[in-house]
Subunit: 258 residues, 2 copies
DNA sequence: GGCACCGTTCCGCTGAGTGGAACGCATGGC
DNA sequence: GCCATGCGTTCCACTCAGCGGAACGGTGCC
């Protein structure tokens, strides 16, 4: 370290360095299915030996796994095990489940509960309808926030989240995905006015979704409930689903704040 | 440390100590929804300050969360986010999904894919049937391995797993749960002979399941596919479901080894 | 065959991580 | 009302765990 600076203290750290680095390693895999040691080391800016040590440790506990054929690494199933526990125990999840089931019964469509995660929406629960199963499996568990009704919904009521998505860019998923900051902001404004969001073929061609925001105690949009279905069927009567998701979201929010 | 020992080296460790300890902390929450700092420190045998530092670090990255009301800690949603990625990317999951969907269509029942995790079975995928949804939600995502057909199935073909369950005990879930080591071993023997497992009201009263083992490249039972339904309906014709899960499991195993 | 890169291993230096002690604050039994 | 107990949190000095760099064997591409 080049001397000269009057020994600036930096207690800023969020905690233990090696643990933080280990978690950084896991984060590396958020958008890459498989990575080698050297890759990981480069991404998080540590020595190769350090990355190797960290990954070996993570593997020892099942948080990561090594592909014996390629020698590269991937996320481990232990993460899934713990993640399931986390989700099942979350207050929101517990309260939301019956509401979502009711929504599904009333609409006969697929219902999602999603929360913001970084610049994407993470689908925490998905209740599928039998006949539409094939369609739905086209929707991954995590989608860029500007391409879905849930994502736009949360962004509309969370300035920080909206801006994060903007600076991360608005990559097109389909021809109808919002592509410019101008369109994006206009869409958010309309959502704030209407109280719900609609996405027509913006994430997957042929699928339309309607979402309403769930507000937490602090008044922040902490989740969204959405209905997804084939575009023609949903568009035939947008008002119905819109009213239903809104009321479900409101009930959920009220029970959360209790 | 009391001197006297000739300074025995112990390079046995699976890796970085502080990272391993951090993962131990997460494991503490496997069977407890919420824990305080002191609890955690006691469980993993470190100083309170260490536990606090570790949990603060985990919270900083969303792997844990602090309940602002009680000051205690729980698992964080980041685990869920990463866990979903891990599951979706797993080879088995990718191959199994269409097979499971087909099974569901043929039987009209609820289908599970489960993997062994510790002394329990972890449900990696669940395809629910509309009309039975209420019933199924009684089944949690993780069940003691002696009370389910999937668990007995894997145990029947994995001595280590079976013994682990035995030493952990056979807590009764219902009146019909296998309770003695003798019954347990007898059940496993029968499963080995028949090639599939049946659980009648052993996990949840009124529900019966039929499961077949999935073998990996090494010939170990690495997962199980199961069909669940109301006891009377399943028992009316056990052979059908049994043959179907067996064939699905065989196909999955073959494709896995490819 | 040479080169570049991979995952892995080894090693000595040092500062990050450790446990213990002290803090302020609830809780509850006397 | 008060002391005892336990909580989550903060601080600190000692020391050994974790760091980067160098070296190794293997693989695949020019």
């Amino acid at each position: 370290m080049p001397a000269g600076q009057p020994e600036q203290r930096k207690p800023v750290e969020g905690g233990l360095q090696s643990v933080l680095t280990a978690l950084d390693v896991l984060d590396c895999f958020a958008h890459e299915e498989e990575l080698g040691i050297s890759d990981v080391a480069r991404r998080i800016g540590v020595a190769k030996s350090t990355a190797h040590r960290l990954l070996t440790t993570l593997c020892a506990r099942g948080m990561a796994e090594q592909n014996p054929e390629t020698g590269r690494y991937r996320l481990g199933m232990k993460l899934f095990a713990l993640g399931q526990l986390a989700a099942n125990r979350s207050q929101m999840h517990k309260i939301a489940l019956p509401l979502l089931a009711d929504l599904k019964e009333r609409t006969g469509a697929t219902i999602h509960l999603a929360i913001p995660d970084g610049v994407e929406m993470l689908y925490v629960e998905r209740l599928e309808t039998f006949r539409e199963m094939a369609l739905m499996s086209a929707v991954p568990r995590r989608v860029a926030a500007h391409a879905t009704s849930s994502g736009k919904c949360v962004a509309a009521f969370d300035e920080v989240f909206a801006n994060a998505r903007l600076t991360a860019g608005l990559p097109p998923e389909t021809q109808r995905t919002l592509g410019s900051a101008r369109d994006y902001r206009a869409a958010l404004l309309q959502i704030r006015q209407r109280g719900y969001a609609v996405s027509i073929d913006e994430a997957v061609v042929g699928l339309t979704s309607v979402a309403a925001p769930v507000f937490d105690r602090a008044g922040k949009a902490c989740a969204a409930i959405s209905i997804v279905g084939p575009t023609p069927r949903i568009l035939a009567n947008v008002g119905g689903p819109a009213r239903l998701v809104q009321s479900a979201a409101t009930v959920l929010a009220r029970q959360l704040c209790r």
